[in-house]
Every structure is written in structure tokens, then in C-alpha cells.
């Protein structure tokens, strides 16, 4: 099942490669989070030395990872939809409807990206830091903004492909 690509053609292969790469980076981040927690747990248990602010690193890591996953989920049509009532309609109609929803989702993702950019600016301006250690938090917002932008572009690309009857 994994080998089959949802989107044929060179453009779609490029889109899928990019989003898959971003998703893998997110997955590696997830593994790093798991390693960090395990190290902190072991340190706390064996040597009374937990990693300071470990739970905050978990939050940041998971937050960024989820943003990195979104474009891939989008491109793989991974969001759950109910097709029970529309099964009888021609495939082209359904593809067009799906494309419209992709555009709606793209609008939200674009807005989220923009919101995170301004969130990063404000966080920078207000010198916001992590709770337990004084590291600035704005780069996290900036990274998430970038990833949301990738998801926005991914959703647009999928919509274009579906309108073109290629998906």
C-alpha cells in the first residue's frame, strides 16, 4: 500500500518527495524527543540528574513534528472524509468537490502560517522564553510558520492536481 502513489506525473512526484522528506525530518525529531525523554528518565532514576526542562523540549519537539507531518498527510489525502453519501456521483464530480475542500484547507493553512509569522515577531519583541530555562521561543514559531507554509503549498498543489483530473 505504501508503494502506491496517490498522484501520478512528474509534478506530483516532486510534491510527494518534498513533503515526504519534510515528514521524515519530523519523524527524526520525534525519535530525538523519545531519546531525550529516555535519557532524562534514566538520568533522574539512576543519577538524580534529569534533563532540565525536558517536558518543554517534548512540547516543542512534538509541536514542530506535527507541523512537519501536515503537508505529507495532506498530499497523501490522509484526512478522514466520509464518502458514503457521494459514492454514486461521477468520479470527476467527487474529485472537483475534494479539490474545493483542499482549497478551503489551504486557506486555513495559509492563515496559520501568517499567524505564526506574526506570533514569531511578537514573541521576539516580547523576549519570550521557555518556562524553565531562558532560551528564546520565537525560532520555534518561525520554524512552524515555515512548515505551515509548506502545508499550504501542498494543499494548493493537491487541489490543482485534482482539478486537472490527475489525482
Amino acid at each position: 500500500m505504501e508503494a502506491q502513489s496517490g498522484l501520478p506525473g512528474r509534478f506530483s512526484r516532486t510534491v510527494e518527495t518534498i513533503t515526504a522528506t519534510v515528514a521524515i525530518v519530523g519523524g527524526i525529531l520525534l525519535l530525538i524527543v523519545a531519546g531525550l525523554v529516555t535519557t532524562s528518565v534514566a538520568g533522574r532514576w539512576l543519577f538524580s540528574k534529569p534533563i532540565p526542562a525536558d517536558y518543554e523540549f517534548v512540547e516543542i519537539g512534538i509541536g514542530v513534528a506535527v507541523f512537519a507531518f501536515l503537508p505529507y498527510t495532506q498530499v497523501r489525502s490522509g484526512h478522514i472524509a466520509v464518502d458514503t453519501f457521494t459514492q454514486r456521483l461521477p468520479a470527476r464530480v467527487n474529485a472537483a468537490v475534494d479539490a474545493v475542500w483542499d482549497l478551503v484547507l489551504a486557506a486555513f493553512l495559509g492563515f496559520f502560517a501568517w499567524g505564526l509569522v506574526s506570533g514569531a515577531q511578537e514573541s521576539f519583541q516580547y523576549n519570550e522564553t521557555m518556562v524553565q530555562i531562558s532560551w528564546p521561543i520565537w525560532p520555534v514559531y518561525a520554524i512552524c510558520a515555515g512548515l505551515a507554509a509548506v502545508a499550504f503549498l501542498g494543499a494548493l498543489a493537491v487541489a490543482v492536481l485534482k482539478f486537472g483530473g490527475r489525482a
Partner: protein, 322 residues
Amino acid sequence: QESVTLKLHHFLPPVSNVHSKLLEPWAKQVAADSGDRLKIEIYPAMQLGGKPPQLYDQARNGVVDIVWTLPGNTPGRFPSTEVFELPFVPAAKATANAPAAQEYGEANLAKETADVKLLSFWAHDQGLIHTNKPIAKMEDLAGLKLRNPTRLAGEALSALGAVSVSMPVPQTPEALAQKVIDGAVIPWEVVPSIKVDELTRYHTSVPGTPTLYTATFFLAMNKDRYAGLPDDLKAVLDKNSGMTFAKLAGKMWDDVGSEVAAKVKASGKNTVSEISEEEKARWVEATQPVRDKWVEDMKGKGLDGAALLEQAKALISKYSAA
């Protein structure tokens, strides 16, 4: 005549003391003083969306009208508030800390909270160390895994030899129940809400003022929303905020605190104790680097930490004497 409904958003459950014994009576008082023209609808438990760190911005941006929040939720943004959270600065009683904080806030927080209408700024009573083994001296803390309530309290715990563990509040009772941590550091008011009295047996405080730690709170309102109120309603709100609110809050923490302390003492299973004055002197000395480091850190933010610290101490002794 125009009547106005304001949305007040906070993160605690409605059964909490803050909701039922502070915010609800306060909203009632405001309604009564305004002849039911100024209504405050309280939305607990982050029902209107978002996470606790976003509360301040929700008030700033007008997502809601009023928020109850902790400056510590958005660390780095309100450095001047941190002085009350330093170890062995605050008073044992909230009835001293709260008005001291309010007066300090009026003098020092205008710039940091310029983008909201700060209705009140206050601090709770003494925080205690709740553990599964008795604490009489600093050495008893060595290696104990204690959940810290704030970054600065965490630094204090480390300075005293304990293992400062950071985790969100919801995880704390679970971690205590499973003995992943050996204790938690919180004021009495929070104890029944997360059942720390059932999950730990020893409750240790330091005698008198200054005490180990406290945390500070904001009641903040959207600026435009405040400016848009009719003058008479503005006056009602003014009358019920600032020092009035801080004193109300201080009283709530002290009342609930002594109630809970009495109940825990009476349970027979728990031991409530104070360390000796001599021992406290050692703790104060051991945590001196935390205060020094804070003063040093403030330089980098263009603040005169030493002066702020002196001012806070002076206000705390002023209201402790009162």
C-alpha cells in the same frame, strides 16, 4: 441605560477556589455595584479555546475581555514581576504579599503591561514542601525529586540540594501517586485540588517572613474594551480592581490556606512542621546565589534588579507589619 457583559477567561476548573471563592464573588460584587448593568460571565478551564500561556494575549487582542493568568505563563515577558518569586523575598501571608505586589505593580509594571488594562497584580501565601519523608534540615532535601512550581523556585530547590523536576500540573498528581517524584512545592490552597495531602505525608514550611517562595498573578483586561465602557461602569470596575481586588485575593489565599492546613493537621495521617529559625538561616544563605544571579540577569534587560529587589522587600515589610 447601557448594560455590558464581559467575558472572563481562565484555566482552572470551576470547583477551584480561585473560581468559586474569588472570581465568582467578585463578579457578583461588580454586578451588584453596577445595578446589574456590568455583568461578568466567567468561562473556566480554557473553554473559550487556547492554552494558558495564550491568556494574556487573549486579553491584549480582545479575543476575550478579562483574563486571570500568571505572568510566569509567558516567561521573559514580565521580568519585573519575578522579584516576588525569588526565594526568601516574599512574606508568609498572602494578605501581605498581595497588596505589596499591587503597589509594586503600580510603580513598576506600566511599561511591561502597557498593552492591557492591568486590573490587579498580586501574589499568594507561602509555598510549602510536600514530601514522603520528613524534612528538618537542608541535608534531608538532598537527592529528593521535587516538582518545582516556577523556574526560580526550581533554582532555589537545586541550591538547597534537591533534584528540581519540571512537569505540568496535570502530570504532578500522577507522578506523585506513582512515586516518580518524591514531592511537590505548592501553597496550601492547591493541596486539596490535586490531592497532595493524600499523595504525600509531610508538609514542611519555613518559619515566618521572608518565606521560601510565592508566585504572582494578573487580572488583565482588554484596553479598548475598558476605554469603551461608560464612565459610571468604568468607576464600578475601578472601585473593584487594583488594591481592592489584591486584598480580596490575599484574603482568599490566607483563609483557604489556614483552613486546609487545619484539616490536614487534623487528619492524623499527615505531619505538618516548620524547620527551625537557625536552619532557615542556612537556607537563606544557600539560596543567595539565586537572588544574586537574578539581579545580574536583570542588567541584561536594562533593569536595575537590586533597586527592584529593595523596593519589593520594603513593601513586603510594610504590609507584613500592617
